[in-house]
Symmetry: C2
Subunit: 196 residues, 2 copies
């Protein structure tokens, strides 16, 4: 069974891939608005881990709306949520039997309700799988420690690999440097170098 996993290059989606790889033919899929080449960081990690890798193009209007929403809110949650749901729809439209993401039990965002999951599955005739939905923060941290070689630091210094980098870039272009600091205060990021 072919599975497309929405992939950010971070620890959660990497762990999700490792949990699924014995059961599915996993392709890591990094979504991009074509704004930056951040997805190349994800490709490097995917290659390193021996996963198939693809990028997929998202709708630029969704990025514009998300950035507007973030500035209006003063925090990124709702904007990120919109982009995540859009990205899932796009991956579900590809030729996979199943789609997945790296959302954890304790994530406030992105979060996909049971009804949204069922709707995605019914409309696209795919299974939607969230391998970390039953893992809390402590369990994920322990698994990452045991399994992955990661670099952790502030978002400005860690290579980011998915559309979040592009949303930040759009914020800078349209609203200036301060907008990023307003919307994403003290945001840390992890980059997966490889396996431990």
């Amino acid at each position: 069974m072919d599975l497309g996993l929405l992939y950010s290059g971070g620890k959660d989606s990497t762990l999700a891939g490792l949990l699924l790889e014995d059961f599915y033919d996993v392709t890591l899929v990094t979504a991009t608005f074509g704004v930056t080449d951040a997805h190349e960081h994800a490709r490097r990690t995917a290659d390193h881990l021996g996963f198939e890798f693809e990028t997929v193009e998202l709708d630029g209007d969704v990025a514009e709306q998300a950035v507007e929403q973030m500035v209006e809110d003063g925090y990124p949650r709702n904007g990120i949520q919109q982009v995540h749901l859009h990205a899932l729809e796009v991956v579900a439209d590809m030729e996979f039997d199943a789609v997945a993401d790296g959302t954890r039990r304790d994530d406030r965002v992105p979060s996909v309700s049971r009804a949204q999951a069922q709707s995605l599955e019914d409309r696209h005739k795919v299974d939607y799988i969230v391998p970390l939905a039953g893992f809390g923060r402590g369990a994920v941290d322990s698994l990452v420690d045991e399994t992955l070689d990661v670099t952790v630091g502030p978002s400005e210094q860690i290579p980011k690999a998915d559309y979040e980098d592009e949303l930040r870039e759009l914020l800078v272009r349209e609203y200036g440097d301060d907008a990023v600091a307003d919307v994403f205060p003290d945001h840390t990021q992890t980059y997966v170098n490889g396996l431990n």
Copy 2:
């Protein structure tokens, strides 16, 4: 890391074990009230699959209350839920770093809320993991087809392996054969013979 997985011998908890075995030292733990030797079926499957196996004794008062509740309700949901939560508490008190169960995304029962999960983790200093929490019915069915050799049939004919068998036996003893049919109409069960 040592993990105790609450194990019924059925497809869901078996699949949960397979999902976790690359990441934890998994022991399958079948809970028993000491009413029947149904747990021997679970031991056989566990041996067959090469997992460590233990049984653990539950509090008989919880069984009595659950059976009363089921008869009062006319359906098993609330009684099963009480026993499941009690069994999780007991396994969380053993010497494991993490406890897990085979609950799926679409299960109405047993169901452990995020708050209950956090409370279990905090009180027992363990991680509580639900590997199938992010898998819907379609995904579980596909994985079972690909992975396991199972026998499916009505509960009366399939060897049952966990406390549900014992609750049925208590129903018969205390309320007669009809009580089981009233509380569990058309209940089907799966027994895992081994890997495909």
